[in-house]
Amino acid sequence: MANYEETLIQQSKEGNADAFNQLVERYQGQVYNVSLRMLGNPQDAEDLTQETFVLAWKAIPRFKGGNFRAWILRIASNACTDVLRSRKGHRVDSMDEVFPEYNPLQSETEAPEDHVLQEEIAQLISEQLLLLSEEQRLVIILADLQGLSYEEIAQVTKCSVGTVKSRLNRARSNLRDLLLEHKELLPTEFRL
């Protein structure tokens, strides 16, 4: 698997668009999800995902090996930071703006009411995530939503593993405090 990815990376470096498309297919879900949780808007997330892969295509000749997922997510997180910086001063007035068309696929085995509940929880958490600082939001997305290890997060954020640990701890504590303000919206099995 890793060898196959290395082959794709090498071919992409040489300008093979098909090989690069395979890498895109492999990582577009993760890049899109990180962008969506960071920016809070599906349209912006799509634009940013596209921009990330264009940047990656241009920069891949300089990729020196190592963890390709961390590398591509670093490009995405940098692009997110740029977008958020340019947005500074513009606050989201209504939470309806946050995820206007968020609609994860419904599992076949999931009951409709469970799906609605799951969607409500996702909506609530997504809204509260946007209230965290950019740095804390990024580590929590990478660790708990994307399942990256501390070492991978350190590569994406360009900081030490120790910093990742403490930042993640603070991020989770802050998110917990924010969720506790909406206790009534949480399902009984998740009552904090």
């Binding site: 899109y32 241009k58 740029d82 994860p104 799951q118 996702a122 640990k165 998110l175 917990r176």
Partner: protein, 227 residues
């Protein structure tokens, strides 16, 4: 102790720390509550299903790669080259100013040449004593001086930093030798204070310094944006 909760939930605590933390949890209800709520938060986060993009991001035609890493890199390199060029202009103009290669007249040379050229008898001439008489009317030589030389001739000597020709510096030297005008220290420091650099070098220094300051500021802003 609370710093260990996240690593514990992620299974990243070594056995010694984990046992110590678990022991503390047993005896501390506040920390037990804290850990419990944190655990529920992590569970909630991990229960969120992944979102799926409405389209694929593959492409048949990816943008052409620039030989110099694209427009952004080109702009960045241009900025650095411009900064280096401005710094070189500034450095060169400062070096020229200090070495005095293009000096129109070196003040030190002007004074010594003037002193050597002028015969000692000139010092006792009425023309040489006249300005002195104008500065200090109470001095005895003022009666001899008369009003041959205009009083303005002495005025530029009193302002340091301005360019003064060899004739005027010579006049300073003569007046000090009579001991009736400015103190000797003033005439000794005057050549150091006077810059003989042509005005175009001063303009180079000013423009070069301003350009370096502006370009360094732009570089700092660009560097912060890249970060």
């Amino acid at each position: 102790m609370r710093d260990l909760f996240s690593p514990y939930l992620d299974g990243r605590l070594d056995p010694v720390k984990r046992d110590r933390m678990l022991y503390h949890i047993e005896i501390c209800p506040a920390c037990r509550e804290e850990l419990s709520t944190l655990e529920e938060t992590v569970k909630l986060l991990r229960s969120i299903p992944a979102a799926f993009p409405a389209r694929s991001f593959t492409s048949d035609v990816w943008p052409r790669r620039s030989a110099f890493f694209g427009k952004y890199r080109l702009r960045e390199a241009g900025l650095r080259i411009a900064t280096a060029a401005a710094a070189m202009v500034l450095f060169a103009s400062l070096a020229i100013g200090f070495t005095g290669v293009f000096d129109e007249s070196s003040p030190a040379q002007g004074i010594t040449a003037d002193n050597h050229q002028k015969p000692m008898t000139d010092l006792s001439s009425p023309a040489a004593e006249t300005p002195v008489g104008e500065i200090t009317p109470t001095s005895p030589s003022s009666t001899e001086g008369g009003d041959i030389a205009p009083p303005e001739a002495t005025q530029p000597n009193t302002s340091p930093g301005l360019f003064i020709g060899s004739d005027q510096t010579g006049a300073i030297q003569k007046s000090t030798e009579t001991g009736e005008s400015a103190p000797p220290e003033a005439t000794q420091h005057t050549p150091e204070l006077i810059s003989g650099s042509p005005s175009w070098i001063r303009w180079m220094q000013i423009v070069g310094g301003a350009m370096v300051a502006v370009l360094i500021s732009i570089n700092i802003v660009a560097w912060r944006r890249r970060r």
